[in-house]
């Protein structure tokens, strides 16, 4: 596998192998797939000493962060293996034939979720392990019994090749068909793969323009396919008056830690902090110590950051907070700017925008009602956070409005550090994602790569095992509307 752009001939062979692999993989028991995911996790853990230095060299990320991310990645693979053993992800429904069904006799119908087929996953730049070759999308798709054509991110091609080799060997060693996970390099190969009729879904983590272009491409196909893009988010934080009074310094310190974590290169970075005008928080924010400058992931991220920051500073309603902001500094020092909630309301498109890197915008409000007004003008978000007190009268309404805008609403916590759990939701209305009904983190993410199939009147030997009477696989079954 080369790290140069994949040619059309190479891509054709990859797609043909992906189609064959999906067909074979889909017929294997879930327990086999679970074992294969664990094998990948074990192999990646075993290769940590080889992989982390490559990642460090390609991404400027420190080793401690990278080893934590690798741990997250392998944990995720093992958690999805557990999900496969449980079997509930298949949403098995069995309706027995019923002559007395009120709308008229009903036949025997049994429904299960089955794999979509080969999928294309576009890797992200900012998580070279957890949202890349063996990351969340790949893990979900493999668990769902799809094969994966992985478009390598140009920011870490050598690491991608190494992870791809380790993962593919582990998969093959665990009995998965060859072609179950293959890499492609280059924008053109990624686009061509997404347009190929053998591909049945796409997944992406990255920028709004990049994700929207691929979403449009997926929908332009003669057969449009689901496209799960996780794009951009500002992740606003709303500090109530009572919270500012009770915990101002603590909130300031935790906020600075959250927005500068990983040099601000997280899709859940809190990009806007709303604080009361009269509180001491503004002065505390100006004075707060910030971590040392850190190199961004790559030159493209650096130049994008510089441009976004310059555009923001050109805005009449924006001023630096706590020292001038050198937009050309390399590596960039964490930057804070200040504006007002009224300015956000007057120009949401100009001010409530993602700036990928170590900067945030502090917005002061006169009245708490402005918090509700700002919440109301938000575009879709991955997260929205309230720093409040239990006695806050505004909280119920603010939670309600924010739940209509964001996939995850936090209370007195911080959005960075997205745990992989059963209840996690990493998604939201556009532009947070292109698929507001799904998540790209957490066990519910497997559903993205599954489609329901109902079987009517089939004899037991022709039914998928999960749908048979007597429940030979021991999976959760909803029988006649009631979960057993």
């Amino acid at each position: 596998m080369s790290e140069t752009a994949t040619t059309a001939a190479e891509l054709e062979a990859i797609l043909a192998a992906a189609a064959t692999a999906a067909q074979q993989w889909g017929q294997r028991p879930a327990a086999d797939r679970a074992a294969a995911l664990v094998a990948v996790a074990d192999a990646l853990d075993a290769a940590a000493q080889e992989l982390i230095p490559i990642a460090e060299a390609e991404t400027n990320l420190p080793p401690a962060r990278l080893s934590g991310e690798l741990k997250r990645t392998t944990f995720q693979l093992r958690l999805f293996a557990e999900l496969l053993h449980d079997g509930g992800y298949q949403d098995v429904r069995i309706d027995h034939a019923d002559e007395a069904w009120p709308m008229g006799a009903r036949p025997d119908i049994r429904r299960v979720l089955e794999p979509l087929g080969p999928v294309v996953v576009f890797a992200a730049s900012n998580f070279p392990f957890a949202f890349s070759v063996a990351g969340g999308d790949t893990c979900s798709a493999l668990a769902a019994a799809c094969s994966v054509v992985l478009k390598v991110h140009s920011g870490h091609p050598r690491l991608s090749a190494a992870v791809g080799r380790v993962a593919a060997e582990a998969l093959e060693g665990a009995g998965a068909p060859s072609g179950i996970l293959q890499l492609v390099y280059g924008t053109q190969a990624g686009r061509d793969a997404l347009l190929d009729p053998r591909i049945k879904a796409g997944a992406f983590t990255g920028s709004i323009p990049g994700g929207r272009a691929l979403f449009d491409l997926a929908n332009s196909r003669p057969e449009p396919i689901p496209f799960y893009g996780e794009l951009g988010s500002v992740n606003p934080v709303f500090v109530t008056e009572a919270a500012a009074t009770a915990r101002g310094p603590e909130i300031v310190s935790a906020f600075v830690q959250s927005y500068t974590m990983g040099a601000g290169q997280f899709c859940t970075k809190p990009g806007i902090l709303l604080v009361p005008t009269g509180s001491t928080m503004v002065a505390e924010l100006a004075a707060a110590s910030r971590p040392a400058p850190a190199k961004l992931l790559n030159e493209r991220i650096q130049s994008g950051y510089t441009e976004a920051l310059q555009a923001l500073l050109m805005h009449d309603a924006v001023a630096p907070l706590g020292g001038t902001v050198d937009t050309l500094a390399f590596p960039p020092a964490p930057a804070l700017n200040v504006t007002t909630a009224q300015a956000l309301l007057e120009d949401p498109a100009g001010l409530i925008v993602e700036c990928f890197g170590p900067s945030a915008l502090v917005a002061t409000y006169q009245e708490e009602s402005e918090l509700l007004a700002v919440a109301g003008v938000l575009d879709g978000q991955l997260t929205a956070t309230i720093q409040g007190e239990d006695s806050d009268a505004i909280a119920p309404e603010l939670v309600r409005v924010l739940a209509g805008k964001a996939g995850r609403v936090l209370w007195n916590q911080w959005p960075t550090g997205v745990s992989v759990t059963y209840a996690q939701q990493h998604g939201g209305p556009y532009p947070a994602t292109t698929a507001p009904t799904s998540t790209s983190v957490g066990t519910a993410g497997i559903t993205r790569f599954l489609r329901p199939v109902a079987y009517q009147g089939l004899p037991a030997h022709l039914l998928p095992a999960a749908l048979r009477d007597g429940n030979p696989l021991g999976v959760p079954q909803r029988i006649n509307g009631v979960t057993s």
Copy 2:
């Protein structure tokens, strides 16, 4: 509410009311929504004597069929009310904070499915009750706590107005906000509604060109939204050699009944029947008695049917079966044409096409392996049917290939007459639908209008009741990965 085209000013008022109604409806307990659905069902049943004659006059459908369809419609409303009482549709997941979570301490995260917001539903022509004003899409959306802007189908405007009035009065009588279900008339109003930023999803049942145009429109928005289109399907039937030998005459008779039912105006009409060349079935099909001619739903359906049938008869590989086919007959007599499986393989795009009306294409095969080959070239289907014997060696592979192409696979049954149940699946890969991961019939259809929201670290009084400890609503909860 007028039956003339909705003006821009009227539409603005309707959309504003829909947005307000969705906000209010979303805050009401599920039990209130259930009561409102039952009230609509009761009111429609009570108005049957008024409604059915209007439907008969507008659609040419016979009263018995229409009263059966109304029964289906009101049963569906009551079944979704049960679903709301059960609460499992919310997919509640509660992860308690866990310091020992292997990837690192995790916070308290609780996830629930919440309504998308106001939606536009485009009514179908062929089910003036069950896929129209108070049909499956409306029922699913209202159950999900969305408000509905219903684009009336031009084929039955008076019935739509009457059903809309009965349903809206029942909803209001049950305490639902006004604006929860409103009608719009005319293509332009439907398109404008779909493009309005207050609308958060679309649903449609109809033709491939019409549905694709609306799907493209929904995706062209600055904020693209989910669009659930149920478009076209050929619903092929595969008769094995053994089945033809054992039950040829029985299959012929049931097939004729299925493809001519409702004058062939069902999206699950079996449009292609594959039979062995050597069997007596071809002669039996030619000789089978067919029902009397029946008027189609309206002139547009009649002219579309005529054109599709003429195009098919122009094909070199197609000939009439059992008498000449008068493509201009009004009303049309049920038509059968014949071709070969080889012809289907050589020109799938020309021959495996939906012809909406009382016609079907019989295709003869020499070898059973041709069944697999034809299954392999199919586009996405709502259904695929096998007429086989338990001993058929080809059956397992044929089921597997068809499950990859169709949302529902049937064995020795017929695809028409789609029961509303917990396990029903009415969907499939494009062009059967624009959303292969969803269904438009059955209780799983509610998921189309819901999006997940996670709450992290919220105190009990700020959490939705379904997510609270102690489970005050008694809904199914998955706690730390295990369903209680």
